[in-house]
Symmetry: D2
Subunit: 282 residues, 4 copies
C-alpha cells in the first residue's frame, strides 16, 4: 500500500539562551530568550517507512543537537530569523522536500524596582495566582493565611552551588555560576489581631527584590533570605512558608560539535526537579 | 467501624464580581474580582455517612448558592475578609465544628494605553506566549507566520448580543449589556519580502486597544474590528487569522434568595464555549 | 478589508446519555455514552463580522441546545451516525455552507465481578495510578501508606439524595434517582508489623463492588460503605481515607423544546464539584 | 529569625525498570514497572539555609542517582518495599531526621490477543479516547473520519534504530535493542458509501497486534506496518493517518557507581520527543 504523506521531526526542544555581552563584566546586563521548538521534515522518506532502510533517515536526536549548536552563535534577536536559519540548514539535507520550524516563546520581563530594571533577574508573567485560607472553629477565633503561587523567577548571575558532600552516588560538579529558576509558592499566617489584609504587595516586592539581589549559595540559602525579607516587610505576618522547586537549567554540552558553551545555551527541564521548602518565623 | 474524620464541601466555585459605582453612569470605572472558592465543613456528620440520614447534611449546592448570594453586597475588597464572612456564616450551621474557606484569585490588570488605564477593559497577565512558524520548501521561498496565543481579555461594558435568529431550539435571551471575555490567538503572515519581524508589539497593541474601545454587537463583530486594526498597524502583515473562544460569564440568578443582580455577580464557565474564528486580508 | 474565511460554533459540549430499555424495570441493563462535541459552521456570515448585523447569526447557545434535543431520541449507537444527523440539521440553516461535527468519546466499561458485568455500574479506564508513601524517622519504625487515585466510577441507578435541610439558600430539589459519578482517591495505612504489601487488589475490588451494589442515599453514605468494605477485605489495613469528588451530571431541561427527559440526557460538569472525604478506622 | 521547619528533596524522578530473566533468552517474558518517585528529607539543615553552608547539604541530584542505582538490583516486586529500602538508605545520612519517599505507579497491562498475553509488549490503560469527525458541505456528500487517540504502547524487545546518517551534529549511537514507547493517534477516512461505522475494534486490534509483533527498525517502520495492517483489517477504511510520538526511554548510565545496566534501568522523558506521522492509502 502506498505511503501518501509522511513527516518526522523533533518536538518540544527546550532552548534557553542567555545573551551575555562579549567580554562581559560583573554587573553587565544579560538578555534572555526562552523557546520551545519543533522541527519537522517532509520528503522522499518512503524507504525508511516501507523497508526499514535508515540510510536516509535524519535522526530526530540530530535535529535537537543542531538547534542547540546553531543557537550558540545566533543572537536570536527575532525568533523568526533563527527559524529561517534552521529551515535553511535542514532543507539542504538528503531527501528533504519541506521543512517546518515552529517556535513558541515563553516571555520573561526584568524584575523591576525603585532602582530600575534589574540586569540579570527576570520574572515570567503568567499564571501567578493569589491565595487565601480562612479556618474557623466553632469555638475560638479564626486563622487567616494568605499567599501567592506560581511566581516564576530566574536569575542568570550570582547563583552558585558548591561545597556539598560527595558520596558514592554523587556526580554533580560544583559550580560557582549557574542559572537559577524557580516557581515560588508562599503563604504567610497573619497575627490573630490583624484586620488589615493588605500585606501582599509588600511581601511580593520583598520576595522579588531579595531573589534578584541575593548572592545565592543554594536554593535553600536564597529561600531563607526571601522569607526573612518578607517578614521584615510586613509586621502583620507571623510566619511564612516558602516552597521553591528548582527548575533546572542544564548547560548543553556542545563540545562534540567543536563549540564552547560559556554559560550561554541551556536546556530547561521539567522533571525531575529539586524541591526546597521551609518556614521562617518571626 | 468508626468514622474517625470527615469533611464535605463544594470546591471550584467560580465567582466573578464586577464592582460598579452606585448609580453608575456611562464611562465610570468598573472593578473586577475573579475567584475560585472551596468551602469545606467538618463536624458531627456521622449519621450522614453511617446511616444515610441526611437531615443534618448541608447540601454542597447550598454552599455554592450561599457564596453567590453573600457576594452580591460584599465589596470583596480583600478576599480574606470575604472568607471570614463566609466562615462566620457556615460555622453557625447545625453539626458544624470547623469551616475552611480557601480562595484563589485570578489576577486582572486594566488594559492600558497612551490614554491611561481603561475604565472597563482588562487583561489577565498569564500564559501569553508568542509563536512563530517558518515553512521552507526545497524550491521556492519561505513563508513566515508569527502570532501570539492565550492573550486573555475581558470587558464589562460595551458588549451586546441581540437580534440573532430564534428557532425551535433557541432559549438565549437578547442582551444589550454582558461581560465579554476571551483568550485571543492571533497569527499573521508576513509579506514575502519582509526582513524585519518586529511587528508583534504594534499588532498586539492594536488588538488590545480595539478590544477595549469597540462597541461590540457580537464576538464576530469585535474580532473583525481587531483584525482590521492589526493589519492597519503593520504594513508587513499580509493577512491575520484570529481565534476567539467566548469564555462565557453567566449572570447568576439570585431571585430565589430575594436579591437582584444588576450585572454584578457572574459565574465563569469553561465548557462549553463559543469559538469564533476568521481571517482578514489586506 | 475582506473577510477571507470565517467559522463559528460551540466547542466542548458535554453530553452523557443513559440508554434505558423502554418500559424499563428494576434491574434491567443500562447503556452509557459519554461525548464531548464541537459544532462548527462556515458560510456567508460576512454581515455578522463586518457590520455587527446578527439576523443571520445562529447563536452558539442554540447549537448546544440542538445537540441535547437531538440526543433525546437518537440511540447514538455509533457516534458517526449521530454526527451525520447533526450535520444534516445544521447544513439546512441560512447562510451555512459547511458543517463540521467533531466528537470525542470518553470510554466506559462495565464494572465486572464474579457475578459478571454489572447492569448499571461503570468504570472509566484511564489515568488510574497506584500510590505508596513511606515515612521513616531516624528513631522509631516506618509507616507505610498505600493507595490508588483517579479510579473513575459512575452508576445510573440506586443513587438518591434527599431529606437534606433546606435553608434560605437551598434550591436543589430532592431526588430519588440520579447519576452518581466520582473519581476515587483512596489511601490506607498498613499495620506496623506488615511485610506483605499485596492488599491493593483486594481493596480495589471491594471498592468497586461496593460502589456498584450500594443503595446510595448520598456520596457520604456510599463512601462509608466502601471504606468499611475495604477494611473488611484486608486485615493488614489499619485505616482507610477516601476522597470522592461528586462529578455532577445535571439533567438537561428539554421542556422548552417540547421534550421530556426521564433521566436520559445529562450534561457532565467539571466545576464546581462536591468533595466528600472521610477516614474509616478498624 | 528562626527556621522552624525545612525539607528538601528531589521530586518527579521517572524510573522505568524492565525485569528480564537472568540469562534471558529470545522470547522470554519481561516484566515492567513504571514509577515516579519523590524523595524528601527533613533534618538539622539550618546552616544550609541560614549561612549558605553546604557541607551537610545532600544534593538532590545525588538523591536521583541513588534511586537509579538502588533500582538496578532491587526487583521492585512491591513499590512499598523499594520505598522502605530507599528510606533506610537516606535516614542514615548526616543531619537527616525524617525521610519521606512517595511513589506513583503508572500501570501497564500486557497486550493480549487470541494467542494470550504478549511477553514483551504492553498497553497503558488510561486516557484513550475515540474520535469522530463529520464534514458536510451544502452541496455534495459528507465525509466521515474516525479515530482513536492516546493509545499508549511500549515494547521491551524487537526494537532497533541504527544505520541512520551521521553528520557533524550526530551523537546518538546505533542500537539494536531499545525500549520503544509511543502514544498512538490514528484516524481513518471511511469510503463514501459506508453506512456501518463499526471498524474501530478491528482496526484497534490490528494496531496493537502489529505493534507487539513487529520487528522494528524505527518508529517509521513500525508505523507503516501498523497502518498497512489497519487497512487490511477493515475494507471500509480508505486511508489511515497515524501520529506516533517517540516517548524516549533513555538508558541510565550507572557506570559512575560501578554498576552495569544491561537494558534494565531507564529514565522516561517527556520532552523533547520524536514525532513520526504518515498516511497510508489503500
Amino acid at each position: 500500500m502506498p505511503l501518501s504523506w509522511n513527516r518526522h521531526g523533533k518536538s518540544g526542544i527546550r532552548l534557553v539562551k542567555v545573551r551575555r555581552p562579549e567580554g562581559g563584566e560583573e554587573g553587565e546586563t544579560h538578555g534572555l530568550v526562552d523557546l520551545t521548538i519543533d522541527v519537522q521534515l517532509e520528503g522522499a522518506f518512503e524507504p525508511v517507512y516501507v523497508d526499514g532502510e535508515n540510510t536516509g533517515c535524519l535522526a530526530t536526536d540530530t535535529m535537537k543537537n543542531t538547534v542547540y549548536a546553531l543557537a550558540r552563535h545566533d543572537p536570536i534577536d527575532h525568533v523568526e530569523s533563527f527559524g529561517l536559519r534552521l529551515a535553511e540548514h535542514f532543507v539542504g539535507r538528503p531527501l528533504v522536500e519541506r521543512v517546518r520550524i515552529a517556535a513558541t516563546e515563553q516571555r520573561w520581563e526584568r524584575v523591576s524596582s525603585g532602582r530600575g530594571p534589574h540586569p540579570h533577574a527576570f520574572v515570567q508573567p503568567g499564571g501567578e495566582q493569589w491565595t487565601a485560607l480562612v479556618v474557623r472553629d466553632r469555638t475560638g477565633s479564626s486563622t487567616v493565611t494568605s499567599g501567592l503561587t506560581n511566581l516564576v523567577l530566574l536569575k542568570t548571575a550570582h547563583s552558585a552551588f558548591s561545597g556539598f558532600p560527595r558520596d558514592e552516588f554523587t556526580t554533580l560538579p560544583y559550580t560557582e555560576d549557574r542559572v537559577l529558576a524557580t516557581s515560588v509558592t508562599a503563604s504567610w499566617t497573619y497575627r490573630a489581631e490583624t484586620t488589615d489584609f493588605s500585606a501582599r504587595d509588600r511581601i511580593r516586592e520583598a520576595l522579588l527584590e531579595t531573589f534578584a539581589a541575593h548572592d545565592s549559595r543554594s536554593v535553600q540559602h536564597t529561600l531563607y533570605a526571601m522569607g526573612e525579607a518578607a517578614l521584615s516587610a510586613s509586621a502583620d505576618a507571623a510566619e511564612i512558608t516558602l516552597a521553591m522547586p528548582n527548575r533546572h537549567h542544564l548547560l548543553v554540552d556542545l563540545a562534540p560539535f567543536g563549540l564552547d558553551n560559556p554559560n550561554v545555551v541551556f536546556v530547561a527541564t521539567d522533571r525531575p526537579f529539586g524541591l526546597i521548602e521551609a518556614t521562617v518565623r518571626r
